[in-house]
């Protein structure tokens, strides 16, 4: 194998892994901090992409529209938490059902607002040559984001007052409440934070894939599997699971076709959970 082929393979592998990190990290924060599964996560990604699209159409540069989109989706998540999620604490199944209903509504609402067609966002980046191979510069952006977002989560969870209190509220809710942590408020911020990360994920997907109301369901299966294979540790779990599953997906895609790669990812995840039911970072029994 030529060195340039090897380098190109390594880059596409890293891109696959980074993509998994980017689409999963918001879901992982909400699951890790609140033990809630947001079945509308795919639609939060989609909202992030549409917010980016709107920003670009309104004249913002892509690089500014992306963080703005994350904030918009974060604010939306905050509203959802106050109106819906808060009423369903402790009712895990019902939370899933309600967020599922929300996902159906969001898809259709965006269809009504933007139409069902696919919208493209042109990237200001082109591609560069790596020996005989052409590599898109945007994949480097994605790899950068795959490093940046987990670092951001780590900083927020360890270096802010919210992060310390939220982690306390996750580990021992009664104790945290007893020492004065408002757990309901912590949950609100956790959900908003996770939503903002989902929005950022969607914003990063926007130039990569077609921006279309149904885009969420193309990603959530992989995001869910990444999060549950990752297990309870938000950052190490997401990154480790993305590495393992992304590696498998990439290998199978490379050897066969991309959609079989996704099937392989699912199969690998299910087999992994048979061996490690609590995920890669879960406590062994």
């Amino acid at each position: 194998m030529h060195p340039d082929q090897l380098a190109s393979l390594a880059l596409t592998l890293l891109t696959t892994v980074a993509l998994l990190v980017v689409i999963s990290v918001g879901l992982a924060v909400i699951f890790g901090m609140m033990r809630i599964i947001n079945l509308a996560h795919g639609e939060f990604l989609m909202l992030g992409a549409f917010a980016t699209l709107s920003g670009v159409r309104a004249g913002l540069s892509l690089w500014l529209a992306m963080p703005v989109a994350a904030l918009v989706v974060g604010a939306f998540g905050l509203v959802v938490e106050r109106l819906l999620i808060r009423r369903l604490y402790g009712r895990l199944a019902d939370t899933m059902l309600a967020t599922w209903g929300l996902s159906l509504i969001l898809v259709q609402a965006v269809v009504l607002l933007y139409g069902p067609a696919t919208n493209g966002i042109p990237t200001p980046l082109s591609s560069f040559e790596l020996g005989r191979y052409s590599v898109s510069e945007y994949s480097l952006v994605l790899i950068g984001a795959g490093l940046l977002l987990p670092t951001l989560v780590w900083l927020v969870l360890t270096r802010t007052r919210y992060g310390v209190m939220a982690r306390a509220a996750t580990q021992l809710p009664e104790m945290a409440a007893a020492v004065g942590v408002n757990t309901s408020r912590m949950n609100m911020w956790s959900f908003a934070f996770g939503s903002a990360l989902a929005g950022a994920g969607g914003a990063l997907l926007a130039p990569l894939a077609g921006v279309v109301p149904s885009m969420g369901q193309a990603y959530i299966a992989r995001a869910f599997m990444t999060v549950i294979v990752g297990g309870p540790q938000v950052i190490t779990g997401t990154v480790a699971a993305s590495g393992v599953l992304g590696g498998i997906e990439h290998a199978v895609s490379y050897l066969t076709t991309p959609f079989l790669g996704q099937g392989a990812l699912l199969f690998a995840a299910v087999v992994l959970l048979r061996v490690l039911p609590r995920g890669l970072t879960g406590r062994r029994r």
Binding site: M96, L102, A221, I228, T257, F259, L266, V270, L273, P277
Partner: protein, 593 residues
């Protein structure tokens, strides 16, 4: 009443089939689809409502059934002249797929949430995979998979013989057939809920851990239900493909998956009839409100989902009129002759004791060694008390002995056999009876049904289990409460019931965790009698805080401290030991106990 119900069902069925002959052609087609949708909903009622398995994947099995029917029918019809064999292949394919998925989930012991996510993710991956099969290279025999546009030219349900002219079913025949099939499946599931298997399924949903400790292999029960649910969904999928002559990847989409859940939610999660009512009502509603293009349908469906969850979590049908019959009344019909309140002196049905040994077992949680190299041997008959201050490792040791936790090191021997790696239900089968600290009974079942479930785990015969349950009831002295719901028993009675349940499987070793918690003095005294009687026929290990109870039993005592065996002897000997007093008894003595 039990005899009248099948009759009423048969009359209703005949009326439905008769009515189908009078329907206009268009409505016959519509009703057929409702019957098929109802079957799909029924599969989720079984899996989720009855067995408590939170599956979002019924749409996947439906789709697998649809595609399998399409492929088999296209490839086989010229050879066989009929397509019913394709339906059978579709059912088998869906069941096999459910079996594979279920094996990994249930035998991996993944949590409920994970089951929900894995099933949903599986469905969505099938959506992606099937959508990507557009090229001509994706075919099975003559059947083109067709990518996002789907598989076309699927033959309708056809009967005939090889070489003869094949005859498709007319629309009215089709409706009559699916109404009968749906009714038969529903009746079959209803009958199943009254059978021992159905009772075990209901028990598992009510209290999984207790069911496991009684000796039922919960994983296998779940897998069986999941495969059955997959087969029913596959049958519906075959019906759908044969009805529309077409199947596309939309069957694997989020909306289809959500629809199934919505039908069942609206109809009521446990109601067999509700599955059909929910499917027909929601489909009619979204058709009439959704308008021509169906633009608003997802909005309505999403709204219905959120509204039902927030406002009527038990489902519309039960909420509106109790139309849905709950599973539990059906369960209240086991053989229940008059209960004689005779008091038996000996615990019934015990077959003699066995030894239980822990050899150098250790269990760490993170950095904490909860049990730190304990070696203990309990004799084949007689009672042993385990005592120790809070945090001494009693509960962890108990969990290691019952199989709820696995030790990091050491071995556990039951009757000389190594059971260290055996799961809780295996140990129960080998003669371990367990009563947990927190009362763990089926509060929605009667006292007798609780005992029946415990006895059936070992007896495997409904009649013998009923006999045993009655005998236990007499020995425990709670015969008067036989037909009361266990949740209405007093705290002491619940503890006795659970001791009785621990004896259901004729155990040779009985582990009791705080059997007198929350009991009055008289109840404690009675419990001491029961435990002492038990000790003459089996090996009994009691974890207890109540020193009065331990003193009354007057048996060998083992004291744990900081995860190790600290002292052994009679309670009097331990009380004479200064070190013991320092750690534990002493403080209580000085406190005036």
């Amino acid at each position: 009443m039990r005899g009248a119900r099948p009759l009423a069902a048969a009359v209703a069925l005949a009326a439905l089939v008769g009515a189908s002959a009078l329907l206009p052609e268009f409505q016959a087609l519509q009703w057929t689809l409702w019957a098929i949708d109802g079957l799909l909903a029924l599969s989720l009622t079984l899996v989720w409502g009855r067995a408590g398995i939170f599956s979002f994947g019924q749409a996947a099995f439906f789709g697998v059934g649809g595609y399998a029917y399409g492929i088999a029918a296209i490839d086989l019809i010229d050879r066989t002249g009929e397509t019913f064999s394709a339906v059978a292949i579709a059912v088998a394919a869906a069941a096999a797929f459910a079996g594979l998925l279920g094996y990994f989930m249930f035998y991996g012991n993944v949590g409920d949430v994970y089951v929900a996510i894995i099933t949903l993710a599986t469905t969505l991956v099938l959506l992606t995979v099937m959508s990507s099969t557009a090229g001509p290279q994706y075919h099975v025999g003559r059947a083109q998979l067709g990518g996002y546009n789907g598989m076309t030219g699927i033959p309708p349900l056809t009967y005939g013989r090889p070489g003869q002219l094949a005859t498709p079913l007319s629309n009215r025949q089709l409706l009559a057939m699916w109404v009968v099939v749906a009714a038969l499946v529903a009746l079959g599931l209803h009958a199943l809920s009254g059978r021992p298997f159905g009772r075990v399924v209901a028990a598992m949903r009510a209290n999984e851990e207790r069911t496991l400790l009684l000796g039922y292999d919960v994983r296998r029960v779940k897998l069986a239900v999941f495969v059955l649910g997959g087969a029913i969904a596959g049958l519906a999928g075959a019906g759908y493909a044969a009805w529309g002559l077409f199947v596309n990847p939309v069957v694997f989409g989020l909306q289809q998956a959500a629809l199934v859940v919505i039908w069942v939610l609206v109809g009521g999660r446990t109601s067999l009839l509700g599955a059909f009512v929910g499917a027909a009502a929601v489909q009619q509603l979204s058709a009439s409100l959704g308008g021509g293009q169906g633009q608003a349908t997802p909005l309505i469906l999403g709204g219905v989902l959120i509204a039902v969850v927030l406002l009527v979590p038990s489902g519309l049908v039960p909420a509106v009129g109790g139309l849905a019959r709950r599973l539990l009344p059906a369960l209240r019909q086991p053989p229940a002759p008059q209960i004689s309140p005779r008091r038996a002196a000996a615990p019934p049905g015990l077959r003699g004791g066995a030894t239980l040994e822990a050899v150098d077992v250790a269990k760490r949680f993170g950095g904490l060694a909860a049990v730190d190299g304990v070696t203990l041997s309990f004799p084949a008959t007689g009672v042993t008390c385990l005592i120790g201050p809070n945090g001494a490792g009693k509960s962890t040791l108990f969990a290691l002995l019952t199989g709820r936790e696995r030790p990091n090191a050491g071995r556990i021997l039951l009757d000389g056999e190594d059971v260290t790696r055996a799961s809780a239900h295996r140990r129960a089968r080998r003669g371990l009876g367990v009563k947990l600290q927190v009362p763990s009974i089926y509060v929605d079942l009667t006292t007798l049904e609780n005992l029946w479930l415990a006895a059936y785990a070992e007896a495997r015969d409904p009649g013998r289990a009923a006999e045993r349950a009655l005998a236990l009831l007499g020995w425990l002295g709670i015969a008067a409460r036989a037909h009361d719901l266990a949740g209405t028993l007093s705290h002491g009675e619940q503890q006795w019931l659970e001791i009785g349940m621990a004896l259901g499987g004729s155990p040779r070793v009985v582990l009791l965790d705080e059997p007198t918690a929350g009991m009055s003095r008289e109840e404690t005294a009675r419990t001491a009698e029961l435990v002492a009687e038990l000790g003459r026929h089996a090996s009994v290990v009691v974890v207890e805080h109540d020193m009065e109870f331990v003193r009354r039993l007057d048996v060998p005592v083992t004291m744990l401290h900081e995860g190790r065996v600290f002292a052994r002897g009679s309670l009097a000997e331990l009380r004479a030991d200064e070190r013991v007093l320092d750690i534990y008894l002493g403080r209580r003595e000085h406190a005036g106990a």
